[in-house]
Symmetry: none
Subunit: 229 residues, 2 copies
DNA sequence: ACAATACTGTCATGAGAATGTCATAAGGCT
DNA sequence: AGCCTTATGACATTCTCATGACAGTATTGT
């Protein structure tokens, strides 16, 4: 199971290094920047699984980064944990209202941050924490690399596996073909958008059962979504 | 739009009443109990959208309630926010590790709790947290790409979808056909203005229901507007 | 190392849905 | 009434998606 990707936006370099060390030890993949603008670029290039964002950073402010991340379609749903030196409740509330998912006041212990990161990830992407995910009558066990439909194991190819995993992690949401290419094939893939159709079909075929309706919804001129029953 | 259902487990009755008042004012549906066992029963009877759980309550402890909620299939994925008087980091970490989604230390302001509740719900049930657009008995969920009338899903084509979305984003305002062409078809479209009429008709037909009046108002020699009921 | 097998990406084709336009009917307004 | 605007049904065209085939590439097992 691929390591959860964190993006740490923090301009206190000693803190950043400490956190990098701790998180990498826990099996996370960490990228660091001290600059807000650069953070946006990095997030766009390779969408992280979670962003840890210092309120006070160089360039654009943390809260502005938060807002912009929310505005971009690709990063709109990436969870964000804000860090701040301020105690003021107003700031906390404002951070949450801007779209942060959680909030930690400095000084904090790395252990608490780790716990919060893992709590947020568990909620948002259970598969990253090794938990199996369910969507309707589908169940995916990331550790065993197995997919079940109605309790029965189903064989799918590697690409179909990644595809169904991604869709199951975001049930009901419609993804365009290019979003799916980014998420499943990687940001720099130069693959025909139509190829997505083919893999969707292969996936449908693999998980098809008699008298059970197809859980994959085609949204004309928009993309595909997984609809748990 | 169904109100998000909260279950508040808190044995300080004055705090409970205060929170009930604030949450109901915000449009939540709140149920309250001071007892852990009873909380389990209430949660099983009618699964809430979110649980606010005091660490120190009568009967079984908060953390035990948390664990049991996680164990029951029906409530395993209901987000939980824990409240506690303790400052100790150990407790915070333990709470998160037990499966709480968030954690607040007393004393806290109701406003911050509101913000956190809404942050958690936003992630879990986007349609509940204002990510969907509502206009009268119409509701549009842009993430799932769905349109509902009176709670019932309605099928519309891509153009009608964009059209109704635009109208719902600006309720009551009258738009000329050329404004609608710009907004829905794009600035450089070279399409007959009369075509708008046809799509308005198709939209009306799609969202029509027995005994419910048409929410689209024709403004003679001016254009169309959406009139929420 | 080699062969058998599985997987991938692309394309051509056909079915079906959505779109834009028009002709005509219906409805308002002066 | 007479003029003007909108509603409606039909229709040809254009788009979009589903599907099967295929050649090239990985992967697997021996």
């Amino acid at each position: 199971m691929s390591a959860p990707k964190l993006l740490l936006v923090e301009d206190d370099s000693s803190l950043a290094e400490l956190l990098e060390y701790r998180f990498e030890k826990e099996g996370y993949e960490v990228r660091i920047t001290a600059d807000g603008e650069e953070a946006m670029v990095m997030a766009a290039e390779d969408v992280p699984d979670l962003v840890i964002l210092d309120w006070m950073i160089e360039g654009i402010s943390g809260i502005e980064v938060c807002r912009r991340l929310r505005r971009e379609k690709a990063t709109a749903h990436v969870p964000i944990i804000m860090l701040t030196a301020r105690e003021a409740e107003d700031d906390r509330v404002r951070g949450l209202e801007t779209g942060a998912d959680d909030y930690l006041t400095k000084p904090f212990s790395p252990r608490e941050l780790l716990a919060r990161v893992s709590a947020v990830l568990r909620r948002v992407r259970p598969a990253l924490a090794g938990e199996s995910i369910e969507a309707g009558d589908l169940r995916l066990d990331p550790v065993a690399h197995r997919l079940e439909r109605c309790g029965q194991e189903v064989q799918v190819g590697p690409t179909e596996y990644r595809l169904v995993k991604f869709l199951m992690e975001h049930p009901r949401r419609v993804f365009s073909r290019s979003q799916l290419l980014d998420a499943v094939w990687g940001t720099d893939s130069e693959i025909e958008e139509r190829t997505v159709d083919v893999h969707i079909r292969r996936l449908r075929k693999s998980i098809a059962l008699e008298n059970v309706r197809d859980p994959i919804r085609t949204v004309r001129s928009a993309g595909y979504a997984l609809e748990p029953v």
